[in-house]
């Protein structure tokens, strides 16, 4: 508990500390019995937290860059086979100036998001059905795990046979790549729900679908995030495999650009597109899932345990 004087001299403290102590003092009579802790109210500014989080990763990238540059400088391979990192980064910069690049990015991301959304819907539906119906889980639980380990590229010949060389074939494989992970992730997460929460939900009148919507799903969310992330990783991989194999004439995409670089023996372009693919996967992982996960964990008071 901060000393009472702090209220009288708020200007001696930094502004956010002062607010905190005011809030604490206002609640003081209630706090006396409770040993209330308001640590979460004390937070560093966003840019500092972001820097602290990103600095080690940026250091790692710098190291990899140095190793790459050193290997190129050693003359192990001629530069038209293994281009220098500086040249590749410059190439990315140039590519970003073309409208075609942005069209390709848009088409690829649209496919990724649509595929992931469909996989999410199917994964949730199948996962929930298996949670509810034990026989269904018995019958198909192992099968779903098997599907999860099946490299999605294996599906392409079949997909092309079914849907010809087109959007549907790509989407089909992306969905099949991600949905089993999502369904399995949901099953695992539901298995790990603290049973007292479900008991409490039932005793408070939540039954059937209401119990699932209001208790089981939110309680499973921290564990389910892993399934969602894995689903994203699989759908992104499947999509890249698909774009390398299923090339549709009037639909430029990141995969077709990578394939074109290969066909033209354009090593610079090849590596440039590989880095773009890596960066997109990573950015969505960090900002799409990472931030949402952090927010959820923080709200539930699960971050402290993770950090220490």
């Amino acid at each position: 508990m901060p000393p009472r004087q702090s209220l009288l001299f708020p200007d001696r403290r930094s502004s956010d500390e002062a607010t905190t102590s005011v809030a604490r003092a206002a609640a003081a009579p209630e706090l006396a019995d409770a040993g209330f802790v308001a640590d979460s109210a004390r937070r560093r500014p966003l840019w500092r937290r972001l820097f602290a989080r990103l600095a080690p990763g940026l250091g790692g990238i710098a190291l990899l860059y140095a190793i790459w540059a050193a290997v190129v400088a050693s003359g192990w391979r001629p530069e038209w086979v293994l281009p220098a990192p500086k040249a590749v980064l410059h190439r990315i910069w140039i590519e970003l100036a073309y409208v075609d690049t942005w069209i390709a990015l848009r088409i690829t991301l649209q496919r990724a998001l649509l595929g992931y959304a469909i996989a999410l819907a199917i994964g949730l539906f199948v996962g929930l059905a298996m949670v509810r119906l034990r026989w269904l889980r018995g019958a198909f639980g192992g099968f779903t795990t098997g599907l999860q380990t099946l490299p999605s590229i294996v599906w392409f010949p079949f997909a092309i046979l079914m849907f010809q060389l087109g959007e549907a074939a790509i989407l089909f494989v992306v969905v099949l790549g991600a949905a089993p992970s999502i369904a399995n992730g949901l099953l695992d997460a539901v298995d790990q729900i603290p049973p007292q929460l479900v008991k409490a939900g039932r005793s408070l009148g939540a039954r059937g679908f209401t119990l699932y919507r209001r208790v089981v799903i939110p309680a499973a969310l921290p564990g389910f995030v892993n399934g969602l992330k894995q689903g994203w990783a699989f759908s992104w991989r499947s999509l890249m495999a698909g774009e390398l194999i299923v090339i549709i004439g009037d639909r430029p995409s990141i995969g077709t650009r990578l394939a074109a670089s290969r066909d033209l023996a354009d090593a610079e372009g090849l590596m440039a597109w590989m880095i773009v693919i890596l960066a997109i996967g990573l950015l969505i992982h960090l900002f799409g899932f990472g931030l949402a996960e952090q927010r959820m964990m923080g709200k539930r008071g699960l971050l402290g345990a993770q950090r220490s």
Binding site: E30, G35, Q196, K199, A200, S203, L204, G205, K299
Partner: protein, 263 residues
Amino acid sequence: MSGRLVVEEAGPVAIAVHDVSKVHGHGSSAVQALDSIRFDVRRGEFACIVGASGCGKSSLLHLIAGLDQPTSGQIGVTGGGTSMMFQDPALFPWLSVEQNVAFPLEVRGVPKAERAAKVAELLELVHLAAFSRRQPHELSGGMRQRVALARALANASHVLLMDEPFAALDAMMRDKLHDDLERIVEATGLTVLFVTHNVREAVRLGDRVLLFSSRPGRLVAEWPVAIPHPRRIESREVTDLAAVITERLRSCAHAPAPVAAVS
């Protein structure tokens, strides 16, 4: 045969337990948790069940709450069902304090305005109005248990089942919660069935104390508690009666060791 007993809506009995037995598991691994339990709890009565661990106290509450089915015998509860509180507050960590209390109201489809008023009233009742926007993890153990109490009260059933709700709290906090519960039960006229291994706590709170033996759980004795309210847990009347009950608890326990600590 097992089933639900019909209890008269406005009759004198709120909980009826008729010859209830419960066996967990099957065959050679079967364990008899409860053996021919029979008692009634009157409307507005505060009944406490004490017994050493393994006396089937928690099983019985689950049966009364309808979370489980008896192997034989019948159970009846007055209209509106039951609310339940556990040793673990079991607050939903993704909801704020007020959302937790609002949970049973939302599930029942209570309109928003009415809901907000009811939540405010309940949080006032447990002295937590200042913490309505907090998340459960920001509260102390005692405060969490008070939120759980408010949430159970929001369930709007006349019968409150409590399964060692204060067992994980320190003595001071427990004292405070006893006072709160005494006041709230007085104000609301609830029927309470309170399970504990703490004999003094049972005497401090109850209108009647039921003693269960363990393995299998049997109702072996009961005492009316005629001590006037408000009571103190350290008062002479409470400790004297608790000593009598503890003596009996020792003599009926099979093994001498695991007799509940009296704190």
